[in-house]
Amino acid sequence: MTSRDQILADIRTALGRTAGQRPAPLTAPLLRGPRFDRDLYIQTFVQRFEKLAGKAFAVPDAAAVLPQLSPLLDGKRVVASHAPFLDTCGITALPQVQSGFSGRDALRDACAAADIGITSADYALAETGTLVMLSSRQEARLVSLLPPVHVAIVPRSRILANLDELLTLLPKPAEQSSSMVLITGPSRTADIEQILIRGVHGPGEIYAVIVENA
């Protein structure tokens, strides 16, 4: 008997079940609605994001993104994801920005050498100040992970109330992507004497730019 069959058989013996026996129905988990008005989504997101030591700005439209970010990007090595919204915002046209990688190794090396990684986000969760990133052709995993600084440019329409709303919208995230990551604040550790230190493996600084008319 294989280990698989042995384990399943042991479980069935212990529980008094037979193979393929369907469980009694399980009630759906209660998914909470937003605790605040939709008008407050941006404000709430910005507040929570900054409480986590991130920096968040709201700008009126895509044209206002570059002026907001240029002091941060000047003279830096920047990697940007393929998200079309970054083109709209003029990010990928900047001379210091590398983008459009086709191979995994090239992308990885660029991210490992970059000072800043810029992505969009599939969703943002206001209640917890969270960015939601689904891995895709447009969004690689490593752009928001390897560089010491992560900047996310998020259309206002992508802001949801909370995790519950995300899971209502995406009841099965695995159908969309091999990887969905919720990012809630900069990378941190408190493993030495419980002293909080940011930027241990992931980015120690994160920025969010919310574009109101998008």
Partner: protein
């Protein structure tokens, strides 16, 4: 039957630095949790606990069904599922895979399940290096120790200890500032991430309807372990299952808050299978190792099987008056504190660490803070009675049995009892603390017997 490691416990109790470290760290974690679950912040906290308990109960009671569902969905997303009965089978699988891919280096994120099976040591015997990448785990791996706490593995070490460990093991100049120590570790481990052939993570949850593993963390090392190397292996106990992705709305609301007071940890990764056709990066191969290692034994008893609901938040450790004094390393297995006290004797032979269920004041704090409502004190009592039954069968406690029989006889004979009481009151202060009394008296002061017993007072009152 092995007894409690009294000498080591005494050493911990007599170490003021260690006492302060445990007390301060667990106290801080208690405060953080209390703030994060208070009614103003999370009004549905108690309701979430009830739901979490019901979902876990349902899943564990139908475990084979959900395991098969999980397996089918992992395969549908291009991953493979490997069932393993024990640590040896896990090691055999990983070694085989490493050999096939000519892999030399494994990066690993924090996983109690892998600690449980001595994953790193097993591979090291075959010249396969597995590097822990969580900062705390990395430190204790360099120091050849085991985790002191489920969520804060290096809780017992100071920055000076870390400085010594880094100097000795990494050959770097002595550095005592935690921020700089973190930078040292980041630099060393970043190289490992970029070189590694295989990444190993644990799993906080297995999602049956999605064929996914969910990993929560704060540092980013689990993301790196699962995204940089070409092969990702997730190692998880079979009890980590929950039926639906939507159930995460309940469990993620509880896990971070109970562990560190965070509404969500910094990173929550929901991973299923290798990278898909058009995805730019991610692993080419994905394996989910499902480990039994004794878990099926815990399913037999309908009451004790709730031990498998545990989501490893560590809240019961922080709130336990025993853990907070004796610390993590005096528990015989990687799982310490109240949860360790109930699962260790069940995973291993009950007689092996029979003292564990007795090392509790049954104050109930653990049950009060458990996010999945495991009735830890009730299980401790149940295990105590099982340990006692085994002892009785083995006749190891003849003296104890004799003492209790005498006690029962005396209690059934009031005259003898009264006489004994009077003699006892005179003799007790004169008995020197020798034999078994010596140990007892070393920690306690025997109260002076009252001048008059209750019976005498009662009789006098009646006469009035």
């Amino acid at each position: 039957m092995t007894g409690a490691p009294s000498e080591n416990i005494q050493k911990t109790l007599n170490d003021p630095r260690l006492q302060l470290a445990i007390y301060a760290a667990s106290g801080r974690l208690m405060d953080h949790r209390a703030t994060a679950v208070q009614t103003e912040v999370l009004p549905e906290y108690q309701d979430l606990r009830t739901q979490a308990n019901q979902i876990k109960k349902h899943t564990i009671e139908n475990l084979d069904y959900y395991l098969e569902q999980l397996e089918a969905n992992v395969v549908a997303h291009g991953g493979q599922v490997v069932f393993c009965r024990d640590g040896q089978e896990v090691a055999d699988f990983v070694l085989g895979l490493a050999k096939k891919n000519d892999a030399r280096l494994i990066v690993k994120s924090k996983s109690m399940t892998s600690e449980e099976i001595h994953f790193n040591e097993r591979l090291a015997h075959h010249q396969l290096e597995a590097v822990e990448t969580d900062l705390g785990e990395y430190i204790i791996q360099l120091a050849h120790q085991r985790p002191y706490h489920i969520v804060a593995p290096a809780l017992h070490l100071t920055r000076y200890d870390v400085a010594d460990i880094f100097t000795e093991r990494l050959g770097v100049e002595r550095e005592v500032v935690p921020e700089n120590q973190t930078k040292i570790a980041r630099a060393v481990l970043r190289e490992k991430f970029l070189q590694a052939d295989i990444g190993v993570t644990g799993a906080n949850f297995l999602i049956a309807d999605s064929g996914a593993v969910v990993v929560v963390e704060n540092e980013g090392n689990a993301r790196l372990s699962s995204s940089t190397p070409k092969i990702h292996i997730a190692v998880a106990g079979i009890e980590k299952l929950i039926p639906r992705a939507q159930d995460l709305a309940v469990f993620l609301d509880l896990l971070g808050r109970s562990a560190t007071g965070q509404p969500l940890t910094v990173y929550t990764s929901f991973l299923s299978g290798p990278r898909r056709g058009d995805e730019v990066d991610g692993p080419d191969e994905f394996y989910l190792v499902l480990l039994d290692n004794g878990r099926t034994k815990l399913l037999v008893d309908p009451e004790k099987r709730q031990s498998l609901y545990c989501i490893r938040c560590g809240a019961c450790l922080n709130h336990c008056p025993v853990y907070r004094k004796i610390g993590g390393h005096n528990y015989p297995w990687v799982y310490s504190g109240p949860i360790g006290a109930i699962i260790t004797p069940q995973f291993h032979d009950i007689t092996e660490n029979g003292w564990l269920p007795f090392a509790s004041s049954l104050c109930g704090a653990c049950a009060e803070v458990c996010p999945v409502k495991i009735e830890i004190p009730k299980l401790l009592l149940k295990l105590r009675s099982e340990v006692t039954d085994v002892k009785r069968q083995h006749g190891a406690s003849g003296l104890e049995r004799f003492a209790f029989r005498m006690f029962a006889w005396v209690m059934a004979h009031p005259k003898i009892y009264l006489l004994g009481g009077r003699i006892g009151a005179i003799l007790a202060p004169l008995v020197p603390p020798v034999g078994p009394l010596k140990k007892w008296a070393s920690q306690r002061t025997l109260p002076r017997p009252a001048k008059q017993s209750f019976h005498q007072l009662w009789a006098a009152r009646k006469r009035k």
